[in-house]
Subunit: 202 residues, 2 copies
Amino acid sequence: MLTLYDYLDSGNGYKCRLLLAQRGITYTYVECNIMQGETRTPQFLEKNPNGRIPALQIDDGPVLAESNAILCWLADGTDFWPSERLAKAQVLQWLFFEQYSHEPYVATPRFILRHLGRDHPRMAELPERLKKGRDALQVMESHLQKQDFFVSNRYTIADIALYAYTHRAHEADLDLTPYPAVRAWLTRVAAQPGHVKMLPGD
Amino acid sequence: MLTLYDYLDSGNGYKCRLLLAQRGITYTYVECNIMQGETRTPQFLEKNPNGRIPALQIDDGPVLAESNAILCWLADGTDFWPSERLAKAQVLQWLFFEQYSHEPYVATPRFILRHLGRDHPRMAELPERLKKGRDALQVMESHLQKQDFFVSNRYTIADIALYAYTHRAHEADLDLTPYPAVRAWLTRVAAQPGHVKMLPGD
């Protein structure tokens, strides 16, 4: 049995929940309130010394951290992560793009706005972060003008990883109107078999 | 034949050069001066729309971006990236850790100090970045106190990815004295067969 340590409002956690649902895998869900320091307790740091959710514990044994590594583990041997050498690496290329060039500039502004609030000093980070967020969306837009999905023209974990925070971009004050190919792709991803929404109220 | 678009002072590029050397693969090296905008020209953006080095062109065909995805492509099917499902994902866990929790806090301060200079306004970012850099080094230290290498107790691309900027930490004003296990691991990595240094003057 798998145990997912997660926080419901986390897009990184949602990546894992979405793939677990689409693979039809049952698991134990443990909510960790990151706003109350529950991922920095000694007990949690024993599971993930980097103090972050999501973390996936496998059969009461090893704990795997990093949302995109969890996606790879869950997708290994399935069509969600092609096994052909170049396609496999191209999926990883987009997963690293997501963590380095997208997440800090889409997810972090969303976090500041939703969890810290518009009076918080970290609001000063928003203009620069959102500029880079628009750069990331433009890279996605150019790519999706030429194909329906990120790799091999079919739905993979590259789409899952990029969908997670892109479909919440409005909560980061990012307007998707200038990115029609991204918006069409969001609709295609949401129409995949077994798709589940991120939050109960969605 | 492979073509590596790179910048000699880049640790991300060095990861690829190191593995190419250790695998004994010959390739064409194309230096792109990031300080003169050579990765933002229309010609380069056709190769990597995200405008970054390193980028690896495969037989005049597709171009793979993201240093850690290039490592995976180069290591696929070799002992540098174990094929066993959990170990494979654990390697990826450390590669994502490197890009999200280490590179922005070790490589970026180094870039500011070496390429922008101590009079640059971005120096204001250093205290917060270096604090998180020390957090990343502490996560590595705790892990390496229990094992010689990051995954499966043998040298893999997880070690290559983390070695690249950690062995330049002094150039980022990060003192490795408090991290003896990290320092011992740096020595072990540098002693691997086929190891090459990053810069000609090293």
